[in-house]
């Protein structure tokens, strides 16, 4: 990991943050907004996560990030700056299809050069090494914290902590946190047996250095590309005639109507695919503070018939089933049994007015 010389302002800030970490006192880090440094004393899950979140938002950094699940691995380059309270970020994929994600404040532009398409998202999703937003104190009631020791990641000594799930409804996590800055350098999702299911990690990191604005500019000129916005409208499931019972500890984050482009009906008998149309889908989102589950309700029969379908990608499970004339799809980073129980809980009710 590259760091500025200790004699510079950023270096003094890092030393100050380290001193504060050792004494357990709160302090300001080198960058404009104070970053709480993790203390060496006891911290609960919410406190660790808030520290990680603050560091990811307010530090300048760039580096290579590798995501891995089994033999599936992807490398990306990230540049992140926080100047004057505005977060700017550029993530460029290094393998597979070229894609780029340019974030300025709360807006993210997703560049798909093969399609010459820009998808604009008004709600900036947190990108590793950032995590959830917001982190509620409730998360500490579902996970125990175990300090494991220290280990090097991307050339930096890290504090290793585990968030151990208190029940089988959720996965556990192992986190590598750089103690001076509070930045998360590696994370693993842990199965019930403690084995890692997937991980995402820095393999090289430049932390606390000034970011050249040129590093944050898009790689491609997007003039003439198709621009797509992904709007969503708030709604209430009950007024739409649906009820979902979430597992213990999961609370509702959002209920929205989304617009999807896709095949609106089953293929014709001769196999001809149905025409691509825009369709509305209900999405309800639940979270326990760390894991999130989305329930999608499509008011049309699925193309998979009346049976159920399951799929896993990393720690994310998808379960699809028919409820009356609608297709219910549950997607979330929870064990399959949890996703299944949520899918099974979806029921039609008389619409509330």
């Amino acid at each position: 990991m590259k760091r500025p010389a200790c004699g510079g302002p950023a270096g003094r800030g890092a030393l100050l943050a380290l001193a504060c970490a050792l004494t357990g006192a709160g302090c300001a880090a080198a960058d404009p907004v104070p970053v709480p440094a993790p203390a060496t004393g006891t911290r609960d899950a919410a406190q660790w996560l808030r520290t990680i979140q603050a560091a990811a938002l307010h530090q300048n950094f760039s580096g290579t990030i590798v995501y891995q699940h089994g033999e599936d691995m992807h490398a990306s380059h990230i540049v992140h700056s926080s100047e004057g309270g505005v977060v700017r970020e550029r993530v460029l994929t290094l393998d597979g299809l070229p894609r780029e994600f340019i974030r300025v404040g709360d807006e993210t532009q997703c560049l798909y050069p093969r399609l010459q398409r820009v998808v604009i998202e008004q709600r900036a999703r947190p990108v590793f090494p950032n995590i959830a937003e917001p982190v509620s104190a409730e998360v500490s009631s579902h996970y125990d914290v175990r300090r494991v020791g220290r280990e090097r990641v991307a050339g930096s000594d890290c504090e290793v902590v585990e968030l151990i799930a208190r029940d089988e409804l959720r996965y556990g996590y192992r986190l590598w946190v750089e103690p001076a800055s509070g930045l998360l350098l590696r994370a693993q999702t842990l199965g019930a047996d403690g084995a890692a299911i997937e991980q995402v990690s820095f393999t090289d990191l430049h932390l606390g250095e000034a970011i050249d604005p040129a590093q944050l500019r898009p790689t491609w000129q997007t003039a003439g590309w198709q621009v797509e916005r992904r709007p969503s409208e708030p709604t209430q499931l009950q007024t739409q005639g649906w009820r979902i019972t979430a597992p213990a500890g999961f609370h509702r984050l959002a209920e929205v109507v989304r617009r999807f482009l896709g095949h609106g009906a089953a293929p014709a008998k001769d196999g001809t695919p149905a025409p691509v149309v825009e369709r509305s889908t209900l999405q309800a989102v639940y979270s326990d503070g760390l894991a999130t589950v989305s329930v999608f309700i499509d008011p049309s029969p699925g193309r998979h018939g009346p049976g159920e379908e399951r799929q896993r990608r990393g720690s994310v499970t998808a379960v699809m089933r028919q409820v009356d004339d609608a297709t219910v799809t549950v997607v979330g980073e929870v064990p399959p049994a949890t996703a299944q129980s949520i899918a099974d809980s979806v029921e039609r009710i008389a619409p509330a007015h």
Binding site: V91, L97, R125, A187, S201, L253
Partner: protein, 205 residues
Amino acid sequence: MNSASKLRSPAQSGDPCCREELLSGWLDGEAHPHECSAMLDELLAGEALRRKAAEWSICGDALRSHETVTDPSPGHSRRVCERIARALEAEPALLAPSALQPRHMARRIAGGLAIAAAVAVLAVVVVPQVRTNAGQAVVAASGGARPATLVAGTAPGAARARAARSPDGEAPDPSLDPYFLAHGNYASGVMPAAAVYLRHGPDDR
């Protein structure tokens, strides 16, 4: 791997070996900013170089941490261990110098013997340990972490990353992609924040 002073712009070098040297420096964070930019251009233009960057990144990570991630599919650990073993076997043990001046010969032979002895010791001590670790595919994380079942990354040139597959070996159902994408918009937590690195996009098909 390489010092920054040895690095040149990738465009200045059409030699694949030199390009790999530059890539190595870039992955080690030893490249100058203008070299980083040029290397990114090279990576965008060349799939083979991108693949190599990914392999080296994960390999370096695996070697540094002795830890990667479980794939529950049958035979996964064995396949990866075999790839690492093949890569180690393919590594040249010692490269012979091409043209030595006679008057330096004796000194270089002595030096070469010393290096060869050192390489032999390393070959006996290090390689079997690497193979043992990879073969066992289980390494305790340092500092008292729980033992994790591990799958090492690939050595340079040993193998390619495969397409994402579900644990039962089935290819992902692309009709679910919009749901994974839409979930990622609202997901919060540790791993959902890695969703952007998972490559679910409208250009998947």
